[in-house]
Subunit: 356 residues, 2 copies
Amino acid sequence: METFAESLDTPSVVIDVDVVHANIRRFQTYADVHGFKVRPHIKTHKLPLIADMQIAAGAIGITCQKVSEAEAMVAGSSLITDVLITYNIVGAQKLARLAALARKVRLSVVADSAAVVDGLSAAFAGEASPLGVLVECDTGANRCGVASPEDAAALARTIAASPGLVFGGLMTYPPAGGEAAVQRFMTKAKALIEAAGLAIPVISSGGTPTMMHAAEAPVVSEYRPGTYVYNDRSLVMRGACGWEDCALSVLTTVVSVPTANRAVIDAGTKTLTSDLLGLAGYGHVLGRDDLAIDQLSEEHGRIVSTGPIGLRVGDRLRIVPNHACVVTNMVDEVHLIEAGRPEPRKVPVAARGRIR
Amino acid sequence: METFAESLDTPSVVIDVDVVHANIRRFQTYADVHGFKVRPHIKTHKLPLIADMQIAAGAIGITCQKVSEAEAMVAGSSLITDVLITYNIVGAQKLARLAALARKVRLSVVADSAAVVDGLSAAFAGEASPLGVLVECDTGANRCGVASPEDAAALARTIAASPGLVFGGLMTYPPAGGEAAVQRFMTKAKALIEAAGLAIPVISSGGTPTMMHAAEAPVVSEYRPGTYVYNDRSLVMRGACGWEDCALSVLTTVVSVPTANRAVIDAGTKTLTSDLLGLAGYGHVLGRDDLAIDQLSEEHGRIVSTGPIGLRVGDRLRIVPNHACVVTNMVDEVHLIEAGRPEPRKVPVAARGRIR
């Protein structure tokens, strides 16, 4: 612990590249064995360099949530040639940028209403190549998505009949443990759509928590895991991985030990965020199972213990956050460590803050 | 609503400058009447331009939480000449930057332990001008701070005896409604320190929620409000202000209306953050008291209603977030609107992401 990334000031977000490689390999192997494709969601790392590692390992492309994320990723990579934006793109400014991006890479998006499809069609009717549009399906997460296989089939026909667009398939972000619901919804939607004479190029699902159960919904042909590349406390607490599989940690310094069982570190919500994901506490102190991070303010993290806390001002602690994806959005750069490289390598988080 | 900042893409963080002016004036007037100084915390806006407005209105300087915030604010302003960093500065890299900054402006910091004082003294012993160090006192918030007036007096003597440092006074961030506790702690600490022959240049307290009760702790000579400049949903729900006093809102677009009582906007935790501050829901939709933002993911905000939701894809909504300070940390720029200026003015958030 004491020799960990000594040259870094704190707080700093540190990424263990060797763990990243292992995490990527593990799921790619599972997908290869079960015969589906991997299209990782870049929201977790936001780094072209790691997207390239995922593609080199076998991923067919990437998933982004916003046009601006996709722009940043494509600009920073030579391996990204295929991007799916799993978001309803609405509004003239975003549609113009989408059309410009579609001239550079193979691009597809999703839609869950005729209003979204109409906007996409108007933007792409004059383009040389049509835009692939997948129907987003609500398989139980109750966020976006058409509500029934019948609605999915109807919207697929609308897309296929719209100038500038081609029907790209079906997409869902399922509820945790929703493989059976995905299988049921997608099987029915597929039958309806094929009966209407349309081919379904892809059926795409996602989510790290139950990704090792992806094969339980064999109708799915493509999977979009995000967090698996770094893992985090929420996944450890769900039993999806161990602390040794967590590639991202936040290096912090103890700045105050005001009482025998309280300490304060220099990372608060501006680094660790307020995301609880159903957990108690705001992160795990590596190597100190006896400590709890029970309260955060913007720049302070409060650590408490039942016994004597055993910390001194200046001690450095590594924290595994509850949610890795949101932490990489808080910092302008992360620091990569790797076996055999003595010094961390600073990398800008290219797609940080890309909210449009 | 429909004519609000039409040229902006969404999500965008919009600041109403006229409301900012009124908010600054209201508290400065209260402070002037009651005879204490104002030293606003810049964590809310992170903008040199608004710090300058606060100073022009009568503030004696600014408060920052981290050295890097102070660096960014000083670099962007010609009016900031006095900075208090209300944080234990620990570690060689930060201490070197602190010393460099102290050569540019009148700078002071806080400490709550001899370990922190020793580090500061080592860094400033060779400097031409000594560093002012205030003792941070825990008046009930249970974060940082010495635990008793006796400990405060002892640390004041340690500071006064340390090469390169001068004793700068007492500082606290009180618990909500803690004026009586502040008055009690500080009165006793003041008596002990003065009995030891030390003068107390300032007694500094802070916090927006009960700032209009600051005069109930008359021992306090300086107040550090932060959120008051923008206000937010948490302050409206506490009864501290009304929606019309909220200067910051997030302009969003409805991207999906999947069911009769559910809609999704294009702002999630990457804009509004997960901060709940004890509230239910993640923000207030201006003009639509009947709606609740009941769930956020990174790029989706879910809005629900009990009756028909009355929203269509493409509608724009303005959201007052639970916590303004954390929202300005999520975006690279904010957009200022002002009576008489037809177009919003884009301003980079100079001190965003300054976590060190």
